[in-house]
């Protein structure tokens, strides 16, 4: 067969570790197939923007792409399995959950005409504040940036005021006080230099959302077995590399936040206990939406612990 070129849209900046892992994956496939299949990555949303990527790959506008899975949990709650607040509380627990959930996600993607290749977790999500917070009561009335159903619900349950702020306006919203708090990984805060506006970061390891790399199913089926094998090997390598880099990056960004002048610490026992209770409630709510598949995942996870 003649040489083929696949364009791979990615949403995050070229220097983000996800994009670098993706670039290594692309090179691995290109080299492994002897150039028969060349994958070209397009970071920073320069081809398709983040919110366009799933549809673009689904309908063959691009053959392969990377997307934050939980962004699509409106369509299928299973895509949000990595974002149930406070169900897991470390990389290891998260990986355990993912091992159980992965086949279900693969099935969901398959129904959307997508072949799943690999996925890499973001660093754990923590809470950013402008003041010291030791309990849920301390959070009352704080303007909390929410960007999806789960974060809005979290604000509601903790007594904070949810304000909807798009990613592009986050820095400005913090600067002007439109938002005073948000939940994200240490990486986001480090990248956005949040210490210019906020003072405290609490490691609560609320959840670890994943970026997944998937291929258009028809394009996948059109590949010969040798190429598929190369892709799968490269995917396994990328997944391992990504997990390690995510762990390394977590420490790096927390140190970075400290260097920027923020107080970075694990949440106190009381706060953690109260947040876990809220997490339990939100897990129930997620289960009500996610049906038997969701229940099977959470039950298996709890049984394994």
């Amino acid at each position: 067969a003649q040489a083929e070129k696949w364009d791979m849209p990615m949403a995050y900046a070229a220097t983000n570790f996800h994009s670098e892992v993706g670039a290594n994956f692309a090179k691995c496939v290109t080299d492994g197939t002897g150039g028969k299949l060349e994958i070209v990555t397009h970071p920073s949303g320069s081809l398709f923007a983040g919110n366009e990527i799933k549809r673009a790959v689904q309908t063959g506008q691009a053959n392969i792409g990377e997307r934050l899975l939980s962004a699509h949990q409106n369509e299928n709650p299973i895509y949000g399995v990595d974002s149930i607040p406070f169900l897991v509380s470390s990389f290891d627990e998260h990986e355990k959950l993912w091992d159980i959930a992965e086949p279900y996600v693969v099935k969901a993607l398959d129904e959307d005409n997508l072949h799943y290749l690999y996925s890499v977790p973001w660093p754990p999500q923590g809470l950013y504040f402008k003041k010291e917070v030791n309990s849920v009561a301390d959070m009352k009335g704080i303007k909390f940036r929410s960007y999806n159903t789960a974060t809005a619900r979290m604000a509601e349950l903790t007594g904070m005021l949810p304000v909807q702020v798009e990613a592009a306006e986050l820095s400005q919203a913090l600067a002007t006080g439109v938002a005073e708090s948000f939940i994200s990984s240490g990486a986001t805060g480090y990248d956005r230099k949040v210490w210019e506006h906020l003072t405290h970061f609490y490691e609560v390891d609320a959840w670890l959302p994943r970026n997944a790399v998937f291929v258009n199913k028809d394009a996948w089926n059109g590949l010969d077995d040798a190429t598929k094998k190369v892709m799968e090997d490269c995917a396994a390598k990328a997944e391992a590399e990504g997990l390690q880099r995510s762990k390394d990056y977590t420490q790096f960004t927390l140190d970075g936040l400290r260097k920027g002048g923020m107080t970075v610490q694990r949440a106190g026992d009381q706060l953690m206990k109260e947040l876990k209770a809220i997490g339990a409630q939100m897990t129930e709510e997620w289960l009500a939406k996610a049906g038997p598949d969701g229940k099977a995942i959470v039950d298996a996870y709890k049984a394994a612990n």
């Binding site: 506008q61 820095s171 002007t176 003072t199």
Partner: protein, 437 residues
């Protein structure tokens, strides 16, 4: 170099469609389609509609029609007349006279809006009729407006700096601060140019303003109060945390309506006229934006911008040579793409070059803004040229020629930035950015 033929076809189609008079938005669609067809086997139509939908249904874009609407409302009130009544006694004696209102107006409005199209329509809607009435040379009026409106991108808030900051993970607050002085310097350079031309050019011969005593001048200044209030409300809403940059536009519209009502010039007819005028102008801009977004996708598939940037990277240039190469590169790219697209499409390659050369990345953001500003006024695809054509009915060539001096001033600005990098770096370095509170 096997790509030379497809590039040639691409350029030929671009000039054929634009030059023969096909509507700009549709011409961009056509060129993008040809690009997709030549360079990739991906389905062009499906990709086109994905891009068109996200580019037209975007939340951040909503500020644009609102600011345009505000401009349409103000244009139908006595506000612009009043503003000139208040300003003209003071400015008429300056060399260059009231042409400076274009530049000052754009500078002030740039602090309100993050886009240059909104700056251009709002200020132009008010100033063009007043300046024409006073017989200022048309070329001067149009040229300064095209140039000064690009300050909307440099003086914070700025869409370009937000996109740049997000792309390279740098502090947007720092970038905003970095834009303040260069923005003011660029405005001053525009004004200096106006002052010089007014003394040298024979065609610069506006109708004289009636002479006035100092007390009369002061008295006339009361006409400025409403417009100053409006600007303070819009800027204030943003910096006091009542509104995001996007939402501030809503303050503008409501403020405009209140002003119009208080002057008794708000009738059902002026309301619907302003509304339908805003609808037409924003539809025109939306169609071009839709075409530009598809063209940007097509360019991404072709890999041309990145290939060119790669080429520059392979030359191993010195710091100054690199900046010169990038200047030329972005000027050329800016002729065919809108500024934000050319930033997004090339940053993956350009950022490491810049960091490696030891160039301050915040400073480079301002450098990028200046070249993006140039892209707004260079033909064949220059956004401010399009908007001005829609507003004045002048030929694109006339507007582009009128804007050439502004383009050259921006080139000078790049050298000023290189000679005095502190212009951009002093403010972000010296305002303490420790944790708030």
């Amino acid at each position: 170099m096997e790509q030379l033929i497809p590039i040639g076809i691409f350029l030929f189609v671009l000039f054929l469609l634009l030059g023969s008079g096909v509507w700009v938005g549709l011409a961009l669609m056509g060129v993008a389609y040809v690009g997709m067809d030549l360079f990739t086997s991906r389905p062009a139509g499906d990709a086109m509609i994905t891009k068109v939908w996200t580019s037209t249904s975007s939340w951040t874009l909503t500020a644009l029609p609102l600011f345009i609407w505000m401009g349409e409302i103000l244009f139908r009130t006595r506000l612009s007349e009043d503003m000139f009544k208040g300003l003209s006694p003071w400015m008429a004696r300056l060399p260059g006279g009231l042409v400076h209102t274009n530049i000052v107006g754009c500078t002030v409005f740039a602090a309100v809006s993050g886009s240059s199209a909104a700056t251009l329509t709002t200020v132009g809607k008010m100033s063009i009729p007043e300046l024409r009435r006073r017989n200022y040379p048309e070329r001067m009026v149009i040229g300064t407006l095209a140039g000064a409106a690009t300050l909307g991108l440099m003086i914070p808030p700025s869409l370009t700096l937000i996109v740049y900051g997000v792309t390279i993970n740098e502090s947007i607050t720092k970038l905003f601060m970095a834009g303040v002085f260069p923005g003011l310097v660029l405005a001053a350079m525009f004004m200096a140019y106006v002052a010089i031309v007014s003394q040298v050019s024979k065609s610069f011969d506006p109708s004289p303003e009636p002479p006035m005593s100092f007390v009369e001048k002061l008295k006339n200044s009361r006409y400025l109060i409403p417009v100053i209030c409006l600007i303070l409300v819009v800027i204030g809403s943003m910096y006091m945390g009542y509104a995001t940059a996007t939402e501030a536009a809503a303050f503008g519209v409501i403020g405009g309506l209140i002003l119009a009502a208080s002057q008794g010039s708000l009738s059902w007819a002026t309301f619907t006229d302003s509304l339908m005028g805003a609808v037409r102008t924003s539809a025109m801009i939306a169609l071009i934006l839709a075409g530009a977004s598809f063209l940007s996708l097509s360019m991404g598939f072709t890999g041309l911008p990145r290939g060119l940037a790669d080429l520059i990277a392979s030359l191993e240039l010195s710091r100054f040579e690199l900046l010169m190469a990038l200047l030329v590169f972005y000027i050329v790219l800016g002729m065919f793409l809108d500024g934000i697209s050319s930033v997004v499409l090339t940053m993956a390659v350009v950022e490491p070059m810049i960091r490696q050369a030891g160039i301050d990345i915040i400073w480079f953001g301002i450098f990028i803004v200046v070249v993006v500003e140039m892209a707004q006024i260079t033909p064949p695809i220059g956004f401010n040229l399009f908007v001005l054509q829609g507003m004045t009915g002048h030929e694109m060539t006339f507007i582009a020629r009128a804007a050439i001096p502004m383009f050259l001033i921006m080139v000078v600005m790049v050298f000023v930035l290189i000679a005095f990098p502190e212009l951009a770096t002093w403010l972000p370095d010296n305002i303490r950015q420790g944790p708030a509170g």
